[in-house]
């Protein structure tokens, strides 16, 4: 049951429900499991529930890591 998608929280309806936007699609989901989520945050939605949040800084760092390793093979050479 691993299909989960990052979507942007656009509107809080009440303590437990919110509207999220994914590429222009809007859907109501439960945020009962991520009570600290706020408008503008990206939450990870699974079977109609937000189960976690995306940390934007970590996302940037991860993307940079993909690129970094690609760009500098010599510096990261490992010894067997």
């Amino acid at each position: 049951m691993c299909l989960a998608i990052p979507a942007r929280l656009t509107e809080l309806l009440d303590a437990e429900q919110a509207i999220v936007d994914l590429g222009g699609i809007r859907k109501q989901v439960s945020i009962a499991l991520v009570p600290e989520a706020r408008v503008g945050d990206y939450v990870i939605v699974h079977v109609g529930h937000a189960i976690g949040q995306i940390d934007p800084e970590e996302a940037e760092r991860t993307l940079a890591m993909f690129g970094e390793l690609a760009a500098a093979p010599a510096a990261l050479e490992t010894t067997p």
């Binding site: 049951m1 699974h46 109609g48 976690g52 991860t62 093979p73 490992t78």
Partner: protein
């Protein structure tokens, strides 16, 4: 789509693939990806082709539909056909083959009121709209899917819904991994030389990275928790190769944008409130696995379908020719199964590995079958 498209970039993929080719030298590597979502990503994006030939991915039992034993689906079918309840379940469960050539979709054709839902809350809504009928939510899934079920039960409890119950088949990831590592094949015969694990993405959002420390230390196997997108998977494989090369066996987190060490505490607390451990649970292909599944606590007993309908679990042996068990343990490949692609196809699945698109057999059939057969692709100049 933000946080999705960037992680599917083909140029970055090629670069990571080059690094892998450089660093995976001099030996062969076997890594098990536990999560069905990862299996699907590997197939759908053709990642196998991008990996060096000496790095092999073994598909583990991370597909909750695949590990559901026939006996459990029989229970759901009985509830629908014999007790006349409305049975709600997720999409992939509908076609899993059960006893007497039945499945939920076939039981529906026989008159069972079986409905596909997208979420546990949909099942709750059906219960509210049909106060005269019993409504049962057939709950399957790993730790990612368990909190939504817990939420549904707690909500039903608060609203005093008297016609709603849950047939709970939620299973636990760490126990499954331990069971594979403990299996005779691995420990004694070294048949499945698993060098490391790609840890599940979304399960880890809920449980955190801490629970994997145990395997890394006790079994001296590296674990890299990987995000869901294909770049995440490739990066994780690279990190595993490096750990093996450097003789390390640690838990590393590639999916830092969503996974923390302690995980989602709100979700964990909710699950602990509603569920408790079953001493043992039958997994398809793995037999009885101790402390690997959940059942509903006595405080919420009225929402436990097994108690409510007085159902006794009857284990059913798998089809003799079906190699799902060996495939789920990573001991055999789909093409090792005699009935793969002939008797057992997505239209006529014999075992669960073929039903769910995450299953090793379904994924290989849909995406990778062409690699087994030499195909001459002739393109006019």
């Amino acid at each position: 789509m933000k946080y999705i498209d960037e992680f599917r970039d083909g140029d970055l993929a090629r670069k990571i693939a080059e690094r892998l080719h450089d660093e995976a030298q001099g030996r062969s590597y076997s890594f098990m990806e536990f999560c069905g979502g990862h299996t699907h990503a590997i197939s759908r994006y053709g990642i196998t082709e991008l990996l060096p030939a000496n790095v092999r991915m073994i598909h583990g039992p991370g597909c909750p539909v695949c590990v559901l034993p026939i006996g459990r689906i029989d229970l759901a079918i009985r509830i629908a056909l014999e007790h006349g309840a409305i049975v709600c379940t997720y999409g992939d469960t509908m076609r899993v083959p059960a006893s007497d050539s039945l499945s939920l979709v076939r039981a529906k054709a026989r008159g069972g009121d079986i409905r596909m839902v997208y979420s546990a809350t949909d099942a709750l809504q059906i219960a509210r709209q049909n106060p005269q009928r019993e409504v049962v939510f057939f709950a399957i899934g790993f730790e990612t899917t368990t909190p939504p079920t817990a939420l549904a039960i707690r909500t039903a409890h608060r609203e005093r819904l008297s016609n709603f119950s849950v047939l709970c088949c939620h299973v636990l990831t760490p126990s499954a991994i331990t069971h594979i590592l403990e299996s005779p094949e691995v420990r004694q015969y070294g048949t499945v030389p698993i060098d490391g694990f790609v840890g599940p993405a979304h399960v880890s959002i809920v449980i955190g990275s801490a629970p994997y420390e145990h395997f890394a230390q006790e079994y001296r196997k590296p674990v890299v928790i990987a995000g869901f997108e294909p770049l995440d998977v490739m990066q994780a494989v690279l990190m595993l190769v490096r750990q093996v090369n450097e003789g390390r066996h640690e838990v590393e987190n590639e999916f830092t944008r969503a996974v923390t060490a302690e995980g989602n505490l709100t979700a964990q607390a909710l699950v602990a409130e509603v569920f408790e451990l079953r001493p043992s649970f039958e997994w398809r292909g793995l037999g009885e696995v101790p402390y690997s599944a959940l059942k509903i606590r006595p405080a919420f007993a009225s929402f436990d379908a097994e108690r409510r309908f007085g159902l006794g679990y009857r284990p059913v042996a798998d089809n003799k020719a079906c190699e799902c068990g060996a495939i789920l343990r990573g001991v055999k490949k789909p093409t090792d199964c005699k009935i793969f692609g002939t008797v057992c196809t997505p239209e006529n699945p014999v075992g669960s590995c073929m039903v769910s698109s995450e299953g090793a057999c379904a994924a290989h059939y849909s995406y990778g079958r062409f690699r087994d057969i030499p195909v001459r692709v002739e393109v006019a100049a």
